[in-house]
């Protein structure tokens, strides 16, 4: 009774917020709706009994990826009216392409969606789905897992290559240098003759006198 209720809640919210991603006028609102739809998808995963995937979806997509996404979108100065320009022009073409795709896919899916092809394995055993994913990921799909890591490495190297620049004249803190500094290198003891007033002092006294 409660589970189907929640299913409809999550499903409806996913669809509605998915729509709002496209319909919202403000890009920041779009991203927020995107996050909401991620969140509701996670809810659907929970209802499916895939709680590990659900949590991963929230941690990775909502907690990290979407934050950065929001971060960037907030910083951009997007002029919505400018973006809408040319919308009318391209609309017919877009509609035609979209329609063709929909018709094709409908044809395909109504024709022979043989569900017995993709066999779902019943996982309701004593082993939790977290352990199950781990067992497959680190054995059967080990190579894919490692290659995914390399792809992320490439993304990181790429981002650094394209953005990092060492500007001149920027003061940077070098902590190891600071720590390895000794007293002898930094402190210089100078004996100052204290009896004769320096000329600077004289000048300032003269200035003071003029002011009075």
């Amino acid at each position: 009774m409660i589970a189907p209720l929640f299913f409809y809640l999550f499903a409806l919210m996913t669809v509605v917020s998915g729509l709002m991603v496209i319909l919202a006028r403000n890009p920041v609102h779009s991203v927020l709706f995107l996050i909401l739809s991620f969140f509701n998808s996670a809810g659907l995963f929970v209802l499916l009994g895939a709680e590990f995937l659900a949590m991963l979806l929230v941690v990775v997509y909502v907690g990290a990826v979407a934050v950065l996404f929001l971060f960037v979108v907030m910083m951009l100065d997007i002029n919505i009216d400018e973006m809408r320009q040319g919308f009318r022009q391209h609309l017919p073409l877009g509609l035609v392409v979209g329609l063709i795709l929909i018709v094709e896919l409908l044809m395909v899916f109504t024709q022979d969606l043989s569900t017995d092809n993709v066999l779902a394995t019943n996982m309701s055993g004593e082993i939790s789905n977290t352990a199950m994913i781990g067992q497959v990921l680190y054995t059967e799909y080990l190579l894919n897992f490692q290659v995914a890591g390399l792809i992320l490495l490439v993304a990181m190297i790429g981002a650094i290559t394209l953005t990092m620049r060492h500007r001149e004249g920027v003061k940077r803190q070098n902590i190891s240098e600071q720590n390895s500094r000794t007293r002898d290198e930094t402190v210089q003891i100078v004996s100052v003759d204290s009896h004769v007033a320096p000329k600077v002092l004289d000048d300032s006294r003269a200035a003071n006198k003029r002011l009075q």
Binding site: N26, V28, H29, M55, V59, G63, A64
Partner: protein, 340 residues
């Protein structure tokens, strides 16, 4: 009349009422704890700085939190005209709600938990990673400079420290062999995890300071630079919600530290006599201890500079925790200590 009684006594209804009762049993003490944490903070810091702190309202100033609440409630709620209204209103609610829902999986005693889910620790991690949205939304919706700067800082800071937080949690998971928080606590029956994983415990605590935007990592609200950061534009009840959320989050993080490293509801030694004191009391004592350290740190450390903050997160904590994850795994495997 009869139908109503039957409806009220139906198993589903009873279950529902029971759940609601459980939720209240957690939330009400929590909110009282939040109220007194604000008082404790002012008193503790006052004493550390050789002042008295608030001691006028009621005996020892014990009614001070209620006076503060009344003051806040009686103030006018201001919606800035340039603000994005809906987001502006939702942001504080989100912060507050998130700080409450996380408590669903924290075990206060053996079996004393609202939802004993299998992936409890991931749930906690997920909820704490959502906390950044309240801040970002508030900062953006205010449509004002200081809040936006605060939100930016906060987003970068929370994401940076979440990384090391996640890796620390992985070491705990490896040592406990479960993602269930009750199992993690039970795995500490012989030895609390803060002893074998001491460096991780320290990093975890420091990262929670950063996650909750507390001193010395309170740059998002740094009052000397950003006035009050992301909640500059908030007043009255919406400000109160942020305030409550922040303190509830502190308690939550302390609860997390307790559960992961300080043996949760378990007494310090495995002596039968100590079990006479119920688990929730032990839990509350440990949380209070961690909270005291929170306040202690605030009273004694200066604020970090922004680049130092990032350096600490990315260049020190991240590599160190990564190495420690490998090390923990290696030791557990090498000495045959892997759970199960």
């Amino acid at each position: 009349m009869e139908t109503i009684t039957r409806f009220l006594t139906s198993p589903m209804m009873i279950e529902l009422i029971w759940t609601v009762a459980q939720i209240f049993a957690v939330i009400v003490p929590l909110l009282i704890a939040v109220a007194y944490l604000t008082l404790a903070e002012r008193r503790v810091i006052g004493l550390m700085q050789l002042r008295k702190g608030p001691n006028v309202v009621g005996p020892f100033g014990l009614f001070q939190p209620f006076a503060d609440a009344l003051k806040l409630l009686s103030k006018e709620t201001i919606l800035p005209s340039g603000a994005s209204k809906a987001v502006f209103v939702i942001a504080p609610m989100l912060t507050f709600i998130l700080s409450l829902v996380a408590w669903a999986v924290i075990p206060f005693g053996e079996g004393m938990v609202i939802a004993d889910v299998n992936v409890g620790i991931l749930y906690l991690f997920a909820i704490s990673s959502l906390g950044v949205y309240g801040v970002i939304m508030a900062g953006w919706a205010s449509n004002s400079k200081y809040p936006f700067l605060g939100a930016m800082r906060s987003a970068a800071q929370m994401i940076s420290y979440e990384v090391s937080l996640g890796l620390v949690i992985i070491t705990v998971i490896m040592a406990a062999g479960s993602l269930n928080l009750s199992d993690i606590v039970m795995a500490q029956k012989d030895m609390w995890f803060f002893i074998p994983l001491f460096p991780m415990f320290v990093i975890f605590f420091i990262s929670t300071l950063a996650e909750t935007n507390r001193a010395p990592f309170d740059l998002p609200e740094g009052e000397s630079e950003l006035v009050a950061g992301y909640f500059v534009e908030y007043s009255s009840m919406s400000f109160a919600l942020f305030f409550l959320g922040e303190y509830a989050n502190m308690i939550l993080m302390s609860g997390m530290t307790t559960t992961l490293f300080l043996g949760g509801w378990l007494p310090p030694f495995d002596w039968p006599i100590l079990y006479l004191i119920p688990g929730p009391i032990w839990f509350a004592l440990k949380v209070a201890l961690v909270l005291f350290v929170f306040l202690w740190v605030r009273a004694t450390t200066p604020r970090y500079r922004y680049d130092q903050l990032m350096r600490l997160g990315w260049k020190i904590f991240l590599p160190f925790t990564l190495i420690f994850v490998v090390l923990t795994g290696g030791v557990l495997l090498g000495f045959g200590l892997l759970p199960q």
